[in-house]
């Protein structure tokens, strides 16, 4: 039913107590949230955690949503922030060697939702490139290249000026094309 319902209507219905409206919002945005988180973190388990966290934030905060921005930029903002937080936490853990990285990689492979060797290889190639970009550049590159957002929208999500974002994207593109030579 009514996938075409507007975000505004779904939010109003949810705030009025309709849990079904929230389910429809999940259905509408789950792919965007997952793939953004997946590209940012580079693995399924972390992306899945972020999806659930983002949904929880949406569930708790939607009642305060003021419609000053579009819902999808708001969702991207939450997803990006959560992804960057997770990446930073992971860096700290790695620094203090609190994670068993080798085991973690094996677990991630077992739990992955990507089927087929060819698909996995393609995604691993992508990850190997993306994970070499600094997190902030990666964020801009993903939002611009995969999510195809405008600089104004990315600016709304990241809080950076369009000029700074263009510079970031240029550096990211340079690195990506260099890494593709390897």
């Amino acid at each position: 039913m009514a996938i075409t319902e507007s975000d505004e209507q779904l939010i109003k219905d949810f705030v009025s107590g309709s849990e079904a409206a929230f389910n429809r919002l999940i259905h509408k945005y789950q792919q965007k949230i997952y793939w953004h988180a997946r590209r940012m973190t580079g693995n399924h388990l972390d992306a899945d955690d972020i999806v659930q966290e983002v949904l929880l934030v949406m569930y708790n905060k939607l009642k305060d949503f003021k419609f000053e921005s579009s819902l999808y930029t708001w969702i991207y903002k939450i997803t990006s922030t959560r992804s960057l937080n997770l990446i930073n936490r992971r860096k700290i853990k790695d620094f203090f060697s609190l994670d068993d990285s080798e085991n973690k990689i094996d677990i991630h492979k077992d739990e992955d939702i990507i089927g087929g060797i060819e698909n996995r290889e393609k995604l691993e190639k992508l990850n190997s490139v993306l994970q070499k970009l600094p997190a902030k550049q990666r964020e801009v590159f993903i939002l611009r290249n995969f999510d195809e957002l405008s600089y104004d929208e990315i600016s709304e999500i990241t809080g950076k000026s369009a000029g700074a974002l263009k510079a970031n994207y240029f550096h990211a593109l340079n690195k990506v094309t260099d890494l593709m030579k390897e």
Partner: protein
């Protein structure tokens, strides 16, 4: 990467700039080659990111997983609420018990029996007289007042002091001194303590 290539690919050029750049591409084969290579690399990356087949079961279950997590997150809160609902009463009981313990140390806790046992018959009579009203005192001083009458007055007065109601007064009275002693002997520890506490509260003792 050539900055113009980047701006061209990213759509940052104006209409005039785009036209000029495309003219340059027709003449500059090196520039054209670099543009083609850059586009190819980006398309490989983009394809890898955009056209990956994923297990759709995962996406079908996201809502259900979220609902489960939501429920799990709520449950501990409910559990904690129940768990900590016992803390406040327990704290009140502990504090009250501590205050009572330190204010009424065991060495000071005596039963009514112990108090009475310290008195001989004469002292007991004196005690009764002391807490009797004037009529009882007067009766005690008058030698021709019958002993039974004095006992009755004393019993009534004592019952009044410990707030016995009319019904229990009628049931308990009249008592002579011997009967009073017998009643006292038959009191349970709990009853004794109750009476003792009542007397303490009314500043009788």
């Amino acid at each position: 990467m050539n900055y113009d290539i980047y701006r061209y690919i990213d759509g940052q050029m104006s209409k005039g700039e785009t036209e000029n750049f495309e003219k340059r591409l027709l003449l500059d084969t090196v520039l054209k080659k670099e543009l083609d290579e850059t586009r190819h690399k980006l398309s490989v990356i983009s394809d890898a990111g955009k056209f990956v087949e994923a297990d759709q079961t995962y996406f079908s279950n996201i809502t259900a997983n979220f609902r489960n997590r939501l429920e799990t997150k709520r449950s501990p809160r409910r559990f904690l609420l129940i768990k900590y609902s016992f803390v406040l009463p327990a704290l009140v009981i502990t504090i009250t018990a501590s205050i009572l313990f330190f204010r009424n140390p065991a060495s000071n806790t005596v039963t009514l029996k112990q108090v009475i046992s310290e008195y001989d018959d004469k002292a007991k009579n004196q005690l009764i007289d002391e807490y009797s009203d004037n009529s009882l005192a007067a009766a005690a001083e008058v030698p021709d007042v019958p002993e039974a009458k004095a006992d009755e007055l004393a019993g009534k007065q004592l019952a009044k002091e410990i707030s016995a109601d009319d019904e229990s007064l009628n049931r308990a009275m009249p008592l002579n001194y011997a009967e009073f002693n017998q009643v006292m002997d038959n009191l349970s520890d709990k009853q004794e303590n109750y009476i003792y506490n009542e007397m303490i509260n009314k500043k009788i003792l």
